[in-house]
């Protein structure tokens, strides 16, 4: 059937995002706007900015991803598509992975591609640009997967957005620790592949485990 499986849901979600490009671009806009706040709020001095840049870029990317995670299953729940997804003859983990991948392609990937520009504005040393992009690419994928677990748990709640943030931020902490560490070690001149490898390991674990948790949560909780 045409509406079963990973690729079908991936394509459909990309199409849906494309039809609402304004909404889909908001995490990116958020990322760009917040990066203006740092020099304004702290100091425009390049030295100080360079010190803060690795961590701040990561924090902003995390918040931007978090903001967009709330809508992952919300519309499907409201218009009845979630129910149809639950009773389709497929392993629920597959459409879930499809949707989360589409989410990353529309959120994490644009953030990664724009990050050199932010790095420039925050005086990030040029040696750290490639490590930053690598860590963001891998890390935001983790963030999408983990955030989707929270989104699935809160899908039937109104105003679940704030609760989603409370639930998910503790789980994001390992990702941001190793993500910003990858950039920082590069700035300090050491081998940044170590933290990146750990990040990649986290991504592998997340791809394996999160779809199960998400599918479980969707089945158990959407009958509220």
């Amino acid at each position: 059937m045409s509406n079963v499986g990973f690729t079908a849901y991936l394509k459909r979600d990309l199409l849906l995002s494309y039809r609402r490009l304004g909404e889909a671009a908001s995490p990116l806009m958020f990322f760009l706007l917040v990066s203006i706040l740092i020099p304004l709020g702290v100091s425009p001095d390049p030295g100080r900015l360079a010190e803060l840049a690795p961590g701040m870029i990561w924090v902003m990317a995390l918040l931007a991803t978090l903001l967009s995670t709330e809508g992952l299953f919300a519309t499907d729940h409201q218009d009845g598509s979630l129910e149809q997804m639950l009773i389709a003859p497929q392993l629920l983990a597959l459409p879930v992975l499809g949707k989360v991948t589409a989410h990353w392609l529309m959120t994490g990937l644009p953030l990664t591609l724009v990050s050199p520009l932010i790095g420039l504005m925050l005086s990030l040393p040029s040696v750290a640009v490639v490590p930053m992009m690598a860590s963001l690419a891998v890390g935001t994928a983790c963030l999408s997967l983990i955030g989707a677990v929270g989104a699935a748990l809160t899908v039937s709640l109104r105003k679940g957005g704030l609760l989603l943030s409370i639930l998910v931020i503790p789980l994001y902490i390992p990702v941001i620790i190793f993500g910003s560490a990858a950039v920082q070690t590069a700035v300090d001149g050491f081998n940044w592949l170590g933290p990146l490898a750990i990040l990649a390991a986290m991504l592998c674990a997340a791809i394996a485990l999160c779809p199960l948790a998400i599918a479980g949560a969707l089945r158990l909780v959407s009958s509220n």
């Binding site: 045409s2 459909r12 849906l16 218009d79 009845g80 598509s81 129910e83 009773i87 389709a88 009958s223």
Partner: protein, 213 residues
């Protein structure tokens, strides 16, 4: 030798928050049967249908599909059913034609989709994005599935809501041809169906629920 019924429900019970929703439900459905679930508002008709689609898990009792428990033949069962519930599962940013194509089998041709939309009175609206359509028209897009589906068992929850008399007639004709081809239908509706051999099944709210009031 008695034939195994297509669908067999045996003493189905569902508990939510320590309260049984309805009295145990048991019935059989054969190919060509149409069963109308009746009962007062809130009796649990939607819950029963959701239990039959396996969206909900029963507290006890069993549902058998051609003799096998649906938990054992999960994929075969789900591949044979079609469910249209209260919400039309229609995406606002997609057109009527795109929505119907998503909900139809992969082998459906473009002309079949257009024909189905025409049957439900949406000829000329195929490429209109659904946010421009009314709620009644969303329902029609969902019901257009009935003209493209190959599923044997249909579960319809209040299918005639917001549909006019002519539309009801067309849908009932389609339901008739589905039954003649060996399918079966279980639906809940307050309307009287202008079809013959409609079996009615009454759901009784469980006595637990009187205590709650």
């Amino acid at each position: 030798m008695p034939k195994t019924p297509l669908l067999s429900v045996d003493r189905l019970v569902f508990e939510r928050d320590d309260c049984n929703i309805f009295e145990p439900v048991s019935f059989n459905i054969e190919a060509g049967d149409i069963v109308q679930i009746e009962g007062p508002n809130g009796a649990g008709k939607t819950t029963l249908i959701r239990l039959l689609t396996s969206a909900l898990q029963p507290t006890s009792g069993s549902i058998l599909f051609s003799g096998d428990n649906i938990a054992d033949c999960h994929y075969e069962y789900l591949a044979s059913i079609l469910y249209i519930g209260h919400q039309p599962a229609v995406k606002m940013t997609l057109s009527a034609e795109e929505n119907l194509r998503w909900m139809s089998p992969a082998t459906t041709t473009a002309s079949e989709i257009d024909a189905a939309l025409a049957e439900v009175g949406l000829r000329g609206y195929e490429d209109v994005p659904c946010y421009s359509l009314s709620a009644g028209q969303h329902r029609r897009v969902a019901l257009a599935r009935l003209f493209t589906t190959g599923s044997k068992i249909w579960y319809l929850d209040e299918p005639f809501t917001a549909i006019d008399k002519q539309g009801v007639g067309i849908l009932q004709a389609r339901m008739g041809s589905h039954l003649a081809a060996g399918g079966c239908i279980l639906l809940s509706t307050h309307q009287d169906l202008a079809m013959d051999k409609v079996r009615k099944y009454n759901i009784e709210p469980h006595s637990d629920r009187e205590q709650q009031q």
